[in-house]
């Protein structure tokens, strides 16, 4: 079987699995799997850029995804009345002061001669800067959070169309990635891993605790969406007529219509990014990246600026993850910082890339769709399996209840087993790099 035929068959298989869900369970769940699968595919493309192209070990995907989600709130929600005059500008000023302090410290580190004098000046600048920052920051934050705390208490957004939030999410993630890359990319691979793991936790901590930004764990709900609301469709006589001509009741038809709308939007973004990633892979730039990945020393000897190129692709890959994060928050219609967990948003994406085939964009997409399907469906399958296994046990026995309750945790186990099996027996993934 030739390579393209095999790959096409693999994609057909995933498509068939989703169709099967539609026939066996419901079309709504099938479309839900498809939509999150498309978003996961974009995240996988981002990680594949970093790991597959350049060999950068980024385990902070969760942080960039969350930043994308934050962008949706800050771009598309209406601004809170009075928040900017009450303290918004003060907060901005405080953040600028904080940035200036760090910039000054970096300048001192670079410009002053090494010695005790430099260390002392740096400490003085940092400590003084910190207290000035807190002195400006705290009262302004209090002022913003005091504005009708039950419903808003945050600075709100720019009231722009929500689709603009997607590229903005990419920009947010890219900015954060640039900062991290500047400090951590010169280090060894494991250190980069630990650094990104840490930064992701910090981003989530900031989003949970800075209520003035996006209400923290109080969540922002009712985000604007790029597709019509179900209830509007159900009240639209033209839509009801078309639905009934297809033999669907208006409620099901409207939910399907909305989900299909998202699918089309996500598919467009995915195809554009996939095309760009393919072009990048084939270009001289992509060849250079792989050369750096395979032998840094040789690439450096050829005059390639390895650290700069690493920074470049780290920022690009993180931006792609940010776009996916913004899309996901739009799909959910709410930003809930408490739900971001590294196992789900970082390590699962890694499983997708490794299983699909690192270094191959189509592999990443395939892996994402397949693994997402498994992630969703392992739970019902596990439950069913447990019911079969425990059928012999008497009803109400402690062991049976425990086993049935625990079936939900089967998915972590399954993902681990899948990852280890692929790494062992097919380390290049389902669609290997050419």
């Amino acid at each position: 079987m030739s390579e393209p035929v095999k790959n096409t068959l693999l994609f057909v298989l995933v498509g068939a699995l989703i169709l099967l869900t539609g026939f066996m369970q419901s079309w709504n769940s099938a479309l839900m799997i498809l939509n999150m699968g498309l978003i996961s595919a974009i995240m996988a493309i981002g990680v594949n850029l970093q790991w597959g192209f350049a060999g950068l070990f980024n385990v902070g995907v969760m942080g960039f995804v969350a930043l994308g989600g934050l962008a949706v709130v800050l771009v598309s929600t209406p601004p809170t009345p009075g928040a900017w005059t009450a303290g918004g500008f003060g907060i901005l000023l405080a953040l600028l002061l904080g940035a200036a302090t760090i910039f000054a410290a970096v300048m001192i580190a670079q410009k002053m001669p090494k010695g005790r004098m430099r260390t002392l000046t740096m400490i003085v600048v940092l400590v003084a800067g910190f207290f000035v920052f807190r002195a400006v920051f705290d009262p302004n934050v209090a002022a913003v959070e005091a504005i009708s705390p039950a419903t808003s208490g945050h600075i709100g957004g720019l009231n722009l169309p929500v689709l603009l939030a997607w590229p903005a999410g990419g920009l947010f993630a890219a900015g954060a990635a640039w900062l991290i890359g500047k400090t951590a990319l010169g280090l060894r691979s494991d250190y980069l891993a630990i650094a990104t793991l840490g930064i992701a936790e910090i981003i989530i901590a900031v989003m949970k605790n800075e209520d003035w930004l996006a209400r923290g764990v109080k969540n922002v709900i009712g985000l604007p969406r790029p597709v019509p609301y179900e209830i509007d469709l159900q009240n639209d006589p033209g839509f009801i007529e078309r639905a009934s001509s297809l033999g669907l009741d208006p409620v099901t038809a409207s939910t399907l219509y909305v989900k299909l709308g998202y699918s089309v939007l996500f598919l467009i973004v995915l195809l554009v990014l996939l095309w760009m990633a393919q072009m990048a892979l084939k270009s001289p730039w992509g060849r250079m990246m792989r050369a750096i990945r395979d032998n840094e020393v040789a690439a450096e000897a050829m005059g390639k600026d390895v650290t700069r190129r690493h920074l470049q692709i780290f920022v690009l890959g993180s931006a792609v993850c940010g776009i996916a994060g913004a899309m996901m928050t739009t799909l959910d219609g709410q930003l809930t910082p408490g739900t971001y967990q590294p196992l789900r948003f970082t390590f699962l994406v890694w499983v997708m890339v490794i299983v699909g085939g690192s270094g191959n964009n189509f592999g990443a997409v395939l892996g994402a769709m397949l693994i997402w399907f498994l992630w969703v469906q392992v739970e019902p399958i596990g439950l069913w399996l447990m019911q079969v296994l425990t059928a012999g046990l008497p009803d109400g026995s402690a062991l049976k209840t425990h086993l049935l309750d625990s079936a939900a945790h089967m998915r972590l186990l399954t993902m681990g087993v899948v990852l280890l099996l692929v790494l062992r027996f097919s380390p290049r993934g389902l669609i290997p790099e050419k």
Partner: protein
């Protein structure tokens, strides 16, 4: 008097908790650093190994409590600890045999082993949740305090109380014993010496007839013992929750790297550095300062540098600073 009060308040809220937390981190970091030294990769599954060991301790403790075995004022978990260590050892040996050995024979790159350890992390995490569930479990029993705040106030007549929890005392004692045993083993026994030789120079060690598989096996056994001890102590001191152990990964790695990866002494120092900075930076200093400063200068706010939710940020910033200025850690570690 004010000075004494300030000192007591400081010990109560900063020193005692930080020493206990530091011991737990140090034990965790020792495990990470040993694996890095001998097997040469960063083990992402370490937090979940701790959780697995602690889980067995919780289960055995519950069983002992139900049949009425106990240690009186000490927590029953101490009796359960040996069983938990044994269980954890069996798990890591099985994992090594089924998973890691293959890549060792292939001489796979360290980063591949890190990804493999991600897979192991998923499985262990799933196992723990499967067996005991994702919720908080309490298993501490026995006397709650070595000395409670009220007793201390009556004893000394000071305004501030000093409370030392039994679990904090036990943490420090057990950690000291564990570290002493480890260093005795590494420095005095034949196996320990061959482990250090293997860590220093693999080829030379192989040439001198050291059996690598034996070294690796002993490493895993020690790591399992350390991880379980750290996990049980942390669970006793706070409470057992699988997800928290996963989050401990960051401060533990920070401790190991700050001290110098592969250097056991460094891991201990790193654990205490991280613990003390986390606690001091997130502590509200108002109380201590009120005692120390003249009345006119008394602080009006809480004098808290960062809210406690940012404790991860503290370990992270220290990690970055050390990496930027001294990439091999404070004590000389190794760099692969």
């Amino acid at each position: 008097m004010d000075f004494l009060n300030a000192l007591v308040a400081l010990s109560n809220f900063v020193l005692v908790p930080a020493i206990a937390y530091g011991s737990q981190l140090a034990l965790g970091a020792l495990g990470v650093t040993l694996i890095y030294g001998i097997l040469r990769f960063s083990n992402f599954a370490h937090g979940d190994t701790m959780a697995f060991g602690a889980m067995i301790a919780v289960l055995v403790t519950w069983w002992m409590q139900s049949v009425g075995i106990g240690l009186g004022p000490l927590p029953t978990a101490l009796l359960a600890l040996p069983f938990a260590i044994l269980g954890c050892m069996i798990l890591v040996l099985i994992t090594d045999r089924l998973v890691y050995r293959f890549y060792r024979e292939q001489k796979a790159k360290p980063v591949i082993l890190v990804i493999v350890s991600m897979g192991v992390m998923f499985i262990m995490n799933g196992l723990v949740r499967f067996i005991i569930g994702p919720d908080d479990q309490r298993f501490a029993d026995g006397e709650r305090f070595l000395i409670s705040a009220r007793e201390f106030k009556q004893l000394t007549g000071l305004k501030e109380g000093l409370a030392i929890k039994t679990t904090q005392g036990i943490t420090v004692v057990v950690a000291v014993i564990a570290v002493a045993l480890l260093f005795w083993f590494l420095n005095k026994t034949r196996t320990g010496k061959s482990m250090r030789a293997y860590s220093d120079n693999e080829d030379l060690a192989l040439l001198s007839g050291i059996n690598p598989e034996r070294v690796v096996m002993y490493t895993w056994l020690i790591v399992a013992a350390l991880a379980t001890t750290a996990g049980v102590l942390y669970g006793l001191d706070k409470s057992f929750k699988p997800f928290v152990y996963f989050q401990l990964l960051l401060p533990i790695f920070a401790s190991a790297i700050v001290g110098g990866l592969g250097n056991p002494l460094g891991a201990i120092a790193g654990g205490f550095i991280i613990a003390f900075s986390e606690v001091t930076i997130t502590y509200a200093w108002k109380k201590v300062l009120t005692y120390l400063m003249p009345e006119s200068l008394e602080p009006s706010g809480l004098v808290q540098l960062l809210s406690t939710d940012y404790k991860f940020a503290v370990s992270f910033v220290i990690l970055l600073i050390v990496l930027l200025f001294k990439p091999t850690g404070l004590f000389k570690g190794k760099a692969v």
